[in-house]
């Protein structure tokens, strides 16, 4: 009957197109895979977070009272391994990158959708192996697997953890490969390299590191596993092997891995700042090229982790100089972001608050990195809490801030719902305060001599440690809040308009949430990137009053 009541239906999108577990576990849609990754890494973030809180609780008092030294060694090892390989490395690339790379370049999907799904399954397999290793005794080598302790002396699950990270590495390689091919071959007509969003440039640089660095970690871990399981003698000094060789091979990946974690975050910040300052990015090509420069320099600085390990002083000087060189492209980014905001009409929405936090904390983390790159100073602060603080300023203050900023920025696109803005700002503030309270005291602790990786310490360090532990609790609240209100907004949030922020970028021209193939018609790009002079701020946007 022609007059039958037609039920009001939502537009068909990638979320409501199909239902059921099968439609998710066998999907090849990059947006659904991004959500699978989101769930996976959030789970591991909380596992790693629990380890972190246990570490901080143990360090609340000088005595080793909450856990024994062996347990403590396992806690910081597994905190590092879980957070690095199962949260930070996949975080922005596998979630936001997966969702946004095809959308930003006007493609229907990544170049290899099945490979994309495979890489998620690899991460899950690796994660299950890691969880099994944790549940059956854990690992105590430190996340760095230094030989000969890892190959000859440790009585823990080194083999299983090593193989788990080997598999996770494959996941990372396949994601990077997919991105590089997609960015090269799948761009919409008219989208030239110089019109690409800076987020894409950052992911391009990241993917290159993933492609060229990760295999070296893979073979290094294979050799460690072979040495432990079959008694090959490649790194064992009692058999003529060289532990320093292990460190070289390990850091050849693991230093660039820091850039795998921070570059995508820089890409996110490069999107947020122009949008909330209503200006084109200052020095677009400098920001784009500095991403590539960081990727290239990043491969040439690994031995600054080994200054006190007994390497030649000449090599150390060269690595020190090259490490300073990385500061140049990093500084270019910071200056250009700041210059972008100059005389902009700034709105203080949640993503922008995270971007502010990122700039400040990354700058501090970067500058303290120069302390560590300086040969003389490094001898003083090596293996102290100064290193711990520096690393967490980059990784938590930088990478995680960028990740949260990006999640808020693109959440309307991903879920089709707005998150509650007031709660968002509150959480951003709590994260910022909690973070600084946790990690700033650690700079001081390290400088006055508290070594890392010990479960007890002299009582004069207690005040600063109590501050740090208190801060970590606040930080935990700051991280729980977004998870709660994101989940809440999926059901109760205001439906999001297609472009709630008045942002540039092809992803905002699609619906929120987007249809399965992203665009009804492949867009043709005729404009330069970030035409913020020409885009109006939408009326209904949650503008700062």
């Amino acid at each position: 009957m022609a007059t039958a009541v037609i039920p009001v239906r939502e537009r068909e999108n990638y979320l409501n197109k199909e239902y059921g577990v099968r439609s998710w576990l066998l999907t090849t849609d990059h947006k659904r895979i991004a959500l699978l990754y989101l769930i996976t890494i959030t789970f591991f973030f909380f596992i790693g977070g629990i380890f972190a809180l246990l570490i901080r609780l143990e360090l609340l008092t000088p005595a080793g009272d909450l856990v024994q030294s062996d347990t403590y060694n396992k806690l910081f090892t597994m905190h590092g391994q879980v957070m690095i390989f199962f949260f930070l490395i996949p975080s922005i690339p596998a979630v936001l990158g997966n969702f946004l790379v095809p959308m930003m370049i006007g493609a229907k999907d990544l170049a290899f959708p099945k490979l994309n799904l495979l890489s998620w399954y690899l991460l899950v397999i690796a994660g299950v192996m890691m969880l099994h290793a944790i549940a059956t005794g854990g690992v105590d080598t430190g996340w760095t697997f230094y030989t000969p302790f890892s190959t000859s002396f440790s009585n823990t699950k080194v083999i299983e953890a090593g193989l788990s990270i080997f598999v996770a590495g494959f996941s990372s390689i396949l994601t990077g490969l997919n991105f590089v091919v997609t960015i090269h071959r799948m761009r919409a007509p008219g989208l030239t390299w110089s019109r690409l969003p800076l987020f894409i440039w950052a992911h391009y640089a990241t993917s290159i590191i993933q492609l060229l660095g990760t295999p070296v970690l893979a073979i290094t871990l294979v050799l460690v596993v072979l040495e432990r399981a079959l008694n090959l003698g490649i790194f064992d000094p009692t058999r003529g092997g060289d532990p320093l060789l292990f460190q070289h091979l390990f850091w050849f990946y693991s230093h660039p891995a820091v850039y795998i974690m921070i570059l995508p975050s820089m890409g996110v910040i490069s999107e947020i700042i122009p949008c909330f300052a209503r200006k084109r990015p200052f020095g677009y090509s400098f920001i784009a090229m500095s991403s590539l420069a960081i990727a290239v320099f990043g491969f040439l600085v690994w031995a600054h982790h080994m200054f006190v390990a007994g390497m030649s002083i000449y090599a150390a000087m060269i690595f020190s100089l090259l490490s300073y060189a990385v500061a140049v492209p990093s500084a270019i980014k910071v200056f250009n972001w700041t210059a972008t905001m100059y005389k902009g009409s700034i709105r203080f929405n949640t993503p922008m608050l995270y971007a502010f936090g990122f700039i400040g904390l990354f700058t501090m983390g970067g500058l303290t990195g120069l302390f560590l790159a300086a040969l003389g100073l490094d001898v003083h602060v090596t293996d102290t809490y100064f290193v711990v603080a520096h690393f967490h300023y980059i990784m938590v203050g930088g990478a995680v801030m960028g990740y949260l900023g990006g999640m808020h920025f693109w959440w309307p696109k991903i879920s089709g719902r707005m998150y509650p803005e007031a709660w968002g700002r509150l959480a951003a503030l709590i994260v910022f305060i909690g973070f600084n309270l946790t990690f700033f005291p650690q700079f001081v602790l390290g400088y006055v001599g508290m070594p890392r990786r010990y479960w007890q310490y002299p009582s004069e360090f207690q005040v600063l440690n109590v501050l740090s532990t208190a801060g970590s609790t606040i930080l935990a609240v700051g991280y729980l809040l977004p998870m709660i209100y994101f989940l809440w907004s999926m059901r109760y949030g205001k439906p999001a308009p297609d472009n709630p922020w008045g942002a540039a970028g092809l992803e905002w021209m699609s619906a929120s949430p987007p249809p399965t193939y992203n665009f009804d018609e492949t867009p043709v790009v005729t404009w330069e990137a970030y035409p913020y002079g020409e885009i109006a701020v939408p009326e209904e946007a949650p503008v700062e009053r």
């Binding site: 229907k108 999907d109 799948m186 295999p215 490649i234």
Partner: protein
């Protein structure tokens, strides 16, 4: 729709939905394969780096240990692999020209050559087991040391054999994967999946096969031919 008045283009059944045309799809697949091979180079380079360091430090032990490897078998294996690269190259051409029978024959030949290589490698490893040259608790090079014209250190020789087994083992693993891929290719080719319009898998797995060959071309001189008459 059978009486639809116009047929604009014949749609290639191998074209995936997210690509605009076959050319974009082939370019993407081929580029992806080259990138994957770049990661493979980095994977092997970790071992080559370790080899370089230890060969420089322990040259005498490396040279003497190298003479115990079976040169005739190694040479035959090198020849076998080079022949298999030829059959692979020809099979890509056969696929492009749509010669199904020739394609299947060449793929089967490649498979057989790969299996011959693995068999010979197995014989060589068996020899090393019998001679106690496998690193670990039963490692023993006293006989080799006695016959050596120069004094050598057993522990250092063990590093050579560790690298020998790690490198040839990783290479063999890649060969096994290659044999698996070519079995699948043969099946698909037999079913008539490839022709002038679609031969990307033949080309890409062919690239992989060539890469594994090239690794062996480096491994052979580095492991077998260090110095066949040590330090005369």
């Amino acid at each position: 729709m059978s009486d639809s008045p116009v047929t604009i283009e014949t749609h290639n059944p191998a074209l995936q939905h997210h690509f605009a045309d076959m050319e974009q799809q082939r370019n993407a697949a081929s580029f992806g394969m080259w990138l994957f091979l770049a990661t493979e180079i980095m994977f092997f380079s970790g071992m080559f780096c370790a080899y370089l360091v230890y060969r420089y430090w322990y040259f005498n032990e490396f040279a003497v240990s190298s003479t115990t490897l079976n040169l005739p078998l190694g040479t035959v294996n090198t020849a076998v692999l080079i022949c298999s690269s030829l059959t692979v190259a020809l099979s890509v051409q056969a696929a492009q020209q749509g010669k199904r029978k020739l394609l299947v024959t060449l793929l089967v030949l490649t498979l057989l050559l790969g299996l011959v290589f693995l068999g010979i490698k197995g014989v060589e490893w068996k020899e090393k087991f019998d001679e106690h040259h496998v690193p670990g608790y039963s490692f023993d090079v006293s006989k080799m040391a006695k016959e050596s014209p120069i004094p050598i250190d057993g522990q250092r020789a063990q590093i050579f054999f560790s690298l020998y087994f790690a490198m040839t083992g990783m290479h063999a693993l890649h060969m096994i994967v290659g044999v698996g891929l070519f079995t699948w290719l043969t099946y698909r080719a037999w079913k008539g999946a490839f022709g002038p319009g679609y031969y990307t898998p033949v080309e890409n797995f062919g690239l992989y096969w060539h890469f594994v060959d090239i690794v062996w071309i480096y491994l052979f001189p580095l492991l077998y031919l260090i110095d066949r008459k040590p330090l005369h």
